[in-house]
């Protein structure tokens, strides 16, 4: 799989994305949703970086900001030595060829009035990579690659099942031979038996075309399966980052521990013996997030300092980062 010290493909530094809340007739800004609040990470070439967390934690916003689908409030996004946040027009368009996205909802992300050829062919035309009859040939080739019948080129999205539509979305994403694909919950809308089909497809394509993925999901079992490294997000911040096996074997942040403990295991014998750490309460509002550590309101280890100081993002073991004042004590949760 990934080599140590692999080349860094994308570097994100101090990324913040605040969405203004506007009220009243003159649309005055009355506050901000702190969707992503100062996160930094690297994506290495050839890896799958998993980004997990519950709804509203900012994982999708992080992914979309990388493609500048949102204009970040502050921060740098460095790809091939260029800061994407500073690129304009044509320069950004060229870079977008190398960074593509697969969306969550295969029903909403394909234009119902376009045929498969038009959907998958559009990026080829926009980027001037094919013309005329060549487009049709390339689209057929791409359909074969994603496991669809090339004879379907003239069909419309509604003629396909959810899983097949997601394959069309994948074909569109790989049409430009990108380096990086941001997969935003690509399987959440699919049935269990279809999820495995799409995940296997993504893994095959990664192997064949040396793709790098940022895989955003809330399903921890699937993230563990597909990822090389995993980042856990909570309310706009990173709480932990580690190699997939390390994160699952030795989680250090109380939230990661609680999250892993909440995932049901499809085995009644295991479930019978499992002791759950149930995190109390709900995720607070990102409009007015808790001071200090964002997780403190639900954390069983929280103390005074957690309300006063935001915990540092520190590397506590090689390639294992955690943001918690009491990470050294968190193992007590696991034994309980």
């Amino acid at each position: 799989m990934m080599k140590k010290n692999a080349e860094v493909l994308l570097r994100v530094e101090n990324l913040k994305m605040y969405f203004p809340i506007k009220r009243g007739v003159i649309q005055r800004t009355v506050g901000y949703v702190h969707a992503v609040d100062d996160v930094s990470f690297d994506v290495k070439r050839g890896e799958t970086l998993g980004l997990v967390g519950e709804s509203g934690c900012g994982k999708t916003t992080t992914g979309r900001t990388i493609l500048r689908l949102y204009e970040p409030t502050t921060g740098n996004i460095i790809f091939e030595g260029k800061d994407l946040t500073r690129l304009r027009g044509e320069e950004m368009r060229i870079i977008r060829r190398k960074i593509q996205m697969i969306f969550q909802d295969p029903y909403a992300s394909l234009n119902p009035r376009m045929t498969v050829e038009e959907i998958i062919g559009e990026p080829l035309i926009v980027h001037g990579l094919a013309q005329g009859q060549k487009i049709r040939e390339r689209v057929k080739e791409l359909l074969t690659l994603v496991g669809l019948n090339p004879a379907y080129v003239d069909r419309y999205p509604h003629e396909f099942s959810g899983g097949q539509r997601q394959r069309i979305g994948v074909a569109r994403a790989i049409a430009l031979q990108p380096d990086l694909i941001v997969c935003d919950e690509p399987i959440s809308a699919l049935d269990v038996s279809i999820q495995a089909q799409v995940v296997n497809l993504l893994e095959d394509l990664q192997r064949d075309f040396n793709l790098t993925y940022i895989f955003i999901a809330h399903d921890l079992s699937m993230v563990r399966h597909i990822s090389t490294r995993v980042i856990v997000m909570y309310l706009g911040v990173f709480v932990e980052l580690a190699d997939r096996d390390m994160l699952y074997k030795n989680p250090l942040h109380p939230y990661t521990i609680g999250l892993l403990s909440a995932v049901p295991i499809p085995d009644p014998y295991v479930e019978e013996k499992r002791e759950r750490i149930i995190l109390a309460g709900d995720v607070p509002s990102p409009i007015n997030p808790p001071s200090g550590c964002r997780f403190r309101t639900r954390c069983p280890l929280a103390q005074q300092i957690c309300a006063e100081q935001r915990p540092a993002w520190q590397e506590v073991a090689p390639d294992h980062y955690v943001a918690c004042h009491f990470w050294q004590e968190s193992h007590s949760l696991k034994r309980r």
Partner: protein
């Protein structure tokens, strides 16, 4: 012990513009007192429609229950009037649905919606009903029950709404709680809270539960017995432990293999089930799973297998003994 609820040969169809969809095709099962029964399957397998048919909640038209009986306390629920059914639903069978937002009326307070069934079904006056509502909200562990009852549904978070929904379903101490994907819309830590709550309420109150889900993980920790549904049929039925340790139907096997497990260390390729579930416009004469099945034999293309006993407490609808890959004797 005799069954508390007995569903026999239930068939439900929907008339659509494309044709008559055979959503439920002869489903039979029993529910014992205090038992937790899990019904698993993917979207469109008929798991929700089966249960909604039992409760008389299928919109007719386009829906139609063409066959079957549902015995509950000596009565056939399919033959009751809407009025009689309403009493059964409110007082004896409680329900919780997937979407806790649309299950509540947004223009009334939680308190009003919680006290209403108490006044109607149990004949309480306003004050008694309010008192009971406070107890119920407290029972589902929502803090400050007195204040929260005055809130509107939008003021509750998703998890809290589902707690309130459970409180409402249990308000008249029903013998059966039917939960249709109650945690699907919730985050995993909130799901864990809700499952934990339901388990402790069950220990306390002793009701039977039918829990419908597509999540094999949730069922593993919750149910005692499991029905696996596919294309409107029950394809496998057994105790929860048996289903997971000794799955026999190729579909059940496929589902379990296609799931990555959080507690599995080695990275293996997932084994997916090819193809997609069928939409049945006719009652199939052959096995509905055959086009996706890797075990198929000649007979599967000729006859649709019936759910039959293969060992103690274990029924499977398949011609093939998947353990040996040959036709069952």
């Amino acid at each position: 012990m005799s069954d508390l609820l007995n569903v026999a040969d239930l068939e439900t169809r929907f008339r659509t513009r494309e044709g008559v969809v055979h959503a439920v095709n002869g489903v039979s099962f029993g529910l014992k007192e205090g038992e937790t029964l899990g019904i698993v399957g993917e979207s469109g397998c008929g798991k929700s429609v089966s249960v909604l048919s039992v409760l008389g909640l299928i919109p007719m038209p386009p829906g139609e229950i063409t066959k079957g009986s549902v015995k509950f306390q000596g009565k056939d629920l399919l033959r009751l009037s809407q009025e009689e059914l309403r009493h059964v639903r409110g007082a004896q069978i409680g329900m919780v649905f997937q979407d806790p937002m649309t299950s509540f009326n947004p223009v009334h307070t939680i308190g009003k919606q919680l006290t209403e069934p108490l006044e109607i079904h149990l004949g309480m006056d306003k004050k008694q009903a309010w008192q009971r509502a406070v107890e119920l909200i407290d029972m589902v562990k929502i803090p400050n029950p007195e204040d929260r009852l005055k809130d509107y549904p939008h003021q509750f978070s998703g998890g809290m709404r589902q707690r309130a929904m459970i409180a409402m379903a249990l308000s008249c101490s029903p013998q059966i709680l039917i939960a249709d994907e109650p945690t699907t819309a919730l985050d995993v830590t909130i799901q864990a809270q809700i499952i934990d709550l339901v388990k402790s309420l069950k220990d306390e109150l002793g009701m039977a539960i039918i829990w419908i889900t597509h999540d094999l993980g949730v069922i593993a920790g919750l149910a005692e017995r499991v029905l696996v549904m596919y294309a409107g049929y029950i394809v496998e039925e057994s105790s929860v432990k048996n289903i997971y340790r000794n799955p026999q139907h190729p579909y059940t096997l496929g589902l379990l293999r296609s799931l990555p497990r959080l507690d599995m260390n080695e990275k293996k390729r997932l084994i997916s089930i090819d193809g997609v579930p069928p939409v049945l416009f006719k009652k199939p004469k052959i096995c509905p799973f055959v086009s996706r099945c890797s075990y198929r034999i000649e007979r599967c293309l000729k006859e649709n297998p019936k759910l039959s006993v293969v060992e103690d407490n274990h029924k499977v609808a398949c011609w093939v003994d998947t353990a040996i890959g040959k036709e069952r004797a």
